[in-house]
């Protein structure tokens, strides 16, 4: 039984099974969109927290750091409550759509991007602050320069976010519902198809997910290597 599942999984992959491709495609679309949105919000938040000095800044830092480890199911639950028919955003009709999944993952990843990028940018700003003040840079000019100069570290932050988004199951299963041909992504398919005994699909998706994780890590280390080579780390 196990063996036949494995060979079936290999067949699914080698024949580029359309259902399999659809699931992988949606996973990538949802998670990449979420990471993109999280980068927009998280980098601005992270950079601002890194260079701004205002009362309560430490409290905000602690809050952002804490929400970095928010369980995906809790985020899913909150987004579900907001989007459900009786919820404040129920009129949007987004529950059980890929958009809902993107929203949930964005909320999940943004604190991660914000907290990690704040640390990266704050370290860099420690080095640049006097020079930037001497050049009379405006806050916006400072943020732009810091984001660009931290580009290597920040792309590893983005990859960390992508890794978390692709591998989480709790949030997308609650707000997406794992509906075939609509909201089924790799993790939800693995979670639910295994329990239904559809081991072949689960195994095939598991292999793909592992491969993606390996690719992301390979990319991470090659970014680190080139950052060091040019002393841009």
């Amino acid at each position: 039984m196990q063996e036949s599942a494995t060979s079936l999984a290999l067949t699914l992959i080698s024949t580029a099974d359309p259902d399999l491709l659809e699931i992988i495609g949606l996973s990538l679309r949802v998670s990449l969109s979420a990471v993109g949105l999280s980068l927009c919000a998280g980098l601005v938040l992270g950079a601002t927290l890194a260079i701004a000095r205002f009362p309560g800044r430490q409290a905000v830092n602690i809050l952002v750091n804490a929400s970095m480890s928010m369980p995906p199911v809790v985020v899913g639950l909150l987004v579900y409550l907001a989007l459900s028919r009786s919820g404040p955003l129920g009129w949007l009709g987004l529950l059980y759509t890929p958009s809902a999944m993107i929203i949930a993952q964005t909320l999940l990843i943004t604190p991660l991007i914000a907290a990690l990028s704040r640390q990266v940018i704050e370290d860099l700003y420690l080095e640049y602050a006097d020079q930037f003040t001497s050049l009379q840079l405006t806050t916006v000019e400072k943020i732009k320069a810091l984001l660009w100069d931290a580009r290597y570290s920040l792309s590893t932050v983005a990859l960390a976010g992508l890794g978390r988004a692709l591998s989480e199951v709790g949030a997308v299963i609650i707000v997406g519902g794992n509906i075939e041909h609509l909201t089924r992504v790799m993790t939800t398919a693995i979670a639910l198809e295994t329990s239904k005994g559809n081991l072949a699909l689960a195994l095939a998706l598991g292999a793909i997910l592992l491969t993606l994780a390996l690719l992301i890590n390979a990319l991470l280390s090659s970014i680190n290597v080139s950052a060091k080579r040019y002393a841009y780390a």
């Binding site: 020079q131 001497s134 320069a145």
Partner: protein
């Protein structure tokens, strides 16, 4: 004859500069027609978390030429430079620039080179372009001319932070000059450089001064101060203990710490 870009490197006087034969810049050398940059330090003091770093500083710097700030390690030279440049805020007193409280517009006319060059994680030319783009001068200095001046044309596309220490400092100086400053601050800019790199920097500084830029530099190199400066501000224990013409400072220092410094010994008031 065709000029190679490197013929612009201004180290032609390096040997003369290095062996210390050159006398302090005579007053006639200075460009008195240049705009005055009169800095008045009034009751200047700085206390950080209960620790007095600077106190009771009341001096007026010469509006032209090169002012050297000297003193033992920890005397407060860097902090004083930062206060004059306005990148640190005094907790006491104030700095006036041409009888005015300096504004951001005034400070856009000032530039500083730090002891440890702070270079962007970009190429050599991108470090210059960053400032040229930020300043939006109507007639911006040409990047390649600046790089030629500091002898870095060949390295324009290299990663700035892979340059040698001397090259990094020359790039930092070129970037400061891209600001077209009327006041240039240098904090021990040649302290960790070999004599050739130091000579290049000294020559550029001297030429900038002659072109009318006010130079305020911290140095612990007495020979360098003697070569370049018109006046010396000698600091000790967070205040100015001597402020005089270079000529008289180096021949007849009046304060005990300055005497000790010039004789190359530590100052111990209890001896």
């Amino acid at each position: 004859m065709h000029k190679s870009p490197d013929s612009n490197i201004v180290n032609l006087n390096a040997t003369e500069t290095n062996n210390g034969k050159r006398r302090p810049t005579p007053a006639s050398n200075k460009n008195e027609k240049a705009p005055a940059n009169q800095f008045d330090l009034v009751e200047l003091g700085c206390t950080i978390s209960g620790k007095v770093i600077l106190q009771n500083i009341n001096i007026s710097l010469k509006p032209h030429g090169i002012s050297a700030i000297m003193g033992f390690n920890g005397a407060g030279k860097s902090m004083l430079l930062k206060l004059i440049h306005g990148i640190a805020t005094p907790t006491n007193g104030h700095v006036r620039w041409n009888q005015q409280v300096p504004t951001r517009e005034h400070r856009l006319n000032q530039a500083m080179v730090f002891q440890k060059p702070v270079l962007l994680r970009r190429s050599v030319k991108a470090n210059i372009d960053f400032v040229i783009k930020q300043r939006k001068h109507r007639d911006p200095l040409n990047r390649n001319a600046l790089l030629a001046m500091v002898g870095l044309v060949d390295k324009a596309t290299q990663a700035a932070r892979l340059l040698s220490g001397g090259e990094q400092q020359r790039l930092a100086l070129a970037r400061a000059l891209a600001c077209k400053p009327s006041v240039l601050f240098l904090d021990e800019a040649t302290a960790s450089l070999d004599s050739a790199s130091a000579a290049i920097i000294e020559d550029i500084v001297e030429r900038e001064s002659r072109a009318g830029t006010k130079i305020i530099m911290v140095t612990h190199d007495a020979a360098q101060a003697a070569r370049l400066s018109d006046e010396v501000i000698f600091m000790h224990g967070g205040t100015v203990v001597e402020h005089s013409n270079s000529q008289s400072f180096f021949t007849t220092p009046s304060s005990a710490p300055a005497k000790a410094y010039l004789e190359g010994r530590l100052y111990n008031p209890n001896r």
